[in-house]
């Protein structure tokens, strides 16, 4: 089922949590709502679920083109998973999962044998078959979240909404569950929307990412799209590591210290302050100037543990720090010692005029 959100605004007192947000999620998609805390991503998710309602007169939420803006959460048939699981502590895993089936009106309630069959099926899906008689307090965090997902799936929701599903888990379990969630989505391809503040999680799991900030959507796109072509400095900063170079744009060239680089799209600008963004792996380190455009820099620190060589450098002109990642191959021919002078070539420079406040 597709989800459409049109011009939704939500204020809490004087704080604007969502500012005229519109979003479309196609049927069967796995979409991440990514943003820092306070960006409105959870509020948007809760409005879609019907746990929160948009400001009066501000817009619509549609499922498959049908307006559900004023429908209750119970009537929307969405599956919702909470960051802290919200499992019913006095019920076993089995009863937690069966809850949504047991509370149905008598006429629609499945028979006990059917409930047993469904719960067993879901326990198998979340790989917790042997835990059905345990209580939530006897499970690990990752297991609890899987129970919460099974419980949400038990009512056969049209849409699955996950609020920071792995937020309360430790790093290793998070990684496992990311892969697990993607696999789950392949097996049960219902429209899924999940909130996260973890860029790696969004990039790894989602088929599309919605980047949010201060109640607005900054960019929507596939993971490689938002990573390689960020729409603005905020997205650049938020997704992945990035280096900032302060300089000026003048007639299609960006001047960083004494070096000028050609950049597209800024032909008309006449000497305005600018910030250039470069990812650490998009910088080439040279032992001598390349003649067309390279910045002199000093090596401050070298870390060659792991598959990549990480360098901390400092510009020779304004001493601005930046970092570089090289493969071991690339690093081999260079004398990488702290204090050594090198030259860097910036391969994929994105320049934004410096009037954008972050």
């Amino acid at each position: 089922m597709s989800i459409e959100v049109r011009n939704i605004t939500k204020r809490f007192g004087s704080f604007t949590a969502l500012n005229n947000v519109s979003l479309e999620v196609r049927s069967g998609e796995l979409v991440a709502l990514l943003g820092p805390s306070g960006s409105g991503k959870t509020t948007l998710l809760r409005i879609i679920a019907g746990l929160e309602f948009a400001d009066a007169g501000s817009g619509q939420v549609c499922f498959n083109g049908e307006d559900v803006t004023h429908r209750s959460a119970a009537a929307r048939q969405v599956g919702f998973a909470f960051q802290h699981y919200a499992l019913f502590r006095h019920m076993t895993v089995f009863e937690n999962i069966a809850f949504g089936l047991r509370v149905r009106p008598r006429a629609e309630r499945p028979a006990e044998s059917e409930i047993r069959r469904r719960v067993a099926e879901l326990l198998k899906l979340v790989q917790l078959e042997q835990f059905e008689q345990r209580f939530p307090s006897q499970l690990s965090g990752g297991q609890r979240q899987r129970v919460a997902l099974a419980r949400a799936l038990a009512v056969e929701p049209k849409v699955l909404l996950l609020d920071e599903p792995f937020g309360a888990l430790d790093a290793k379990v998070r990684k496992e569950l990311r892969r697990w969630l993607r696999e789950l989505h392949e097996k049960v391809p219902i429209t899924t929307l999940f909130v996260t503040h973890d860029q790696d999680e969004a990039l790894e799991v989602a088929s599309r990412i919605v980047v949010m900030n201060e109640g607005r959507i900054e960019q929507i796109g596939a993971p490689d799209e938002v990573y390689d072509r960020p729409a603005n400095p905020f997205v650049y900063n938020f997704l992945g590591n990035v280096n900032l170079f302060h300089g000026r744009i003048h007639e299609g060239l960006v001047h960083l210290g004494n070096t000028a680089f050609a950049v597209a799209g800024h032909d008309a600008a006449a000497s305005v302050p600018a910030i250039a963004y470069v990812r650490p792996h998009e910088i080439k380190v040279l032992s001598r100037p390349n003649g067309v455009g390279s910045l002199p820099a000093l090596i401050r620190y070298v870390n060659s543990a792991g598959p990549l060589v990480r360098l901390e450098l400092e510009r020779a002109d304004d001493r601005g720090p930046f970092s570089v990642e090289l493969t071991r191959e690339e690093g081999r021919g260079l004398a990488l010692q702290p204090g050594a002078q090198v030259y860097v070539e910036l391969k994929n420079l994105r320049v934004f005029a410096d009037d954008y406040s972050i």
Partner: protein
């Protein structure tokens, strides 16, 4: 538990000191006075004891005291839960005042409460004048006793349930609603079960308090033998007649009965805690 017997090193020292203190303290404050009651009673002969604690007037007072105490505690469980719920879940003007009001029955001298209740529920009182034409006699009837006992027991339930209710995340309700549960199903299946232990505690406290209550009841009950005479009053009456052994005999029966009931409630609570562990 075994630290007393063994000399193992513990990360939480001080067990012996605190245990010794607890035993001495409980002994001085609770056990010794109670033991004195039993000792005094022991000065009676067995037939005299049986005679003292099973006379019709005494039996009637047991029925009234235990009966109204149980009903009052039950009423308090229902309405105390409601009050606690409103205080925890809703915001409204004057909420702090309402919250403070709940404790008043604790603070008020019980005689004051009794006089006030008697005045209100008497035939010509504010509420009594409307009840009387309906044929409902409140003051000077068992119903009056029930009202007084309900009044003094309310804070126990509210104050034991309130913190537990505050700990129940609103997400639990949201989860239930998003799974399609109605308001009633959410209350019955999600909210109520975690509250059972605290409701039982509140019930036990309100019940125990009602059993021993004297001050507020004597004013509203009318103290008619066989009808509205509570056991604590009977004890006072015996004392006034210098029948100390007779008074302590009734006290001993009340003590044993209360202890048995409270122990039962505690076991029930332990059992319900196990069911709602986590």
């Amino acid at each position: 538990m075994f630290a007393l017997a063994s000399k193992e090193q513990s990360a939480l020292p001080g067990f012996r000191v605190t245990l010794a203190y607890s035993v001495v303290y409980l002994g001085l404050i609770v056990l010794i006075p109670l033991a004195a009651t039993f000792l005094k009673t022991a000065s009676m002969t067995w037939p005299a004891f049986v005679e003292a604690v099973t006379s019709p007037r005494v039996l009637a007072s047991y029925r009234l005291t235990f009966g109204t105490s149980l009903i009052a505690a039950t009423v308090n469980v229902v309405f105390g839960l409601l009050v606690a719920w409103v205080l925890v879940r809703y915001r409204f003007p004057g909420k702090k005042f309402v919250d403070a009001f709940v404790d008043l029955p604790f603070a008020l001298p019980t005689a004051v409460a009794g006089i006030a209740l008697a005045a209100i529920y008497a035939k010509n009182g504010w509420i009594g004048q409307f009840m009387d034409p309906l044929g409902i006699k409140t003051a000077f009837s068992p119903l009056g006793v029930l009202i007084a006992l309900t009044f003094i027991g309310l804070p126990f339930v509210v104050r034991t349930v309130q913190p537990v209710l505050e700990d129940l995340e609103p997400e639990l309700e949201e989860a239930a609603v998003s799974l399609g549960a109605s308001r009633w199903e959410t209350f019955r299946r999600v909210l109520l079960p975690p509250l059972y232990p605290s409701l039982l505690t509140g019930f036990a406290l309100a019940f125990a308090r009602a059993l021993g209550e004297y001050g507020s009841v004597v004013f509203i009950s009318g103290n008619m033998p066989m009808k509205t005479e509570i056991t604590p009053l009977l004890i006072i009456t015996k004392l006034e007649q210098y029948d100390y052994a007779g008074a302590t005999a009734i006290a001993v029966v009340m003590l044993i009965a209360s202890f048995a009931l409270l122990l039962f409630i505690n076991l029930l609570q332990k059992w319900s805690l196990q069911k709602t562990r986590g």
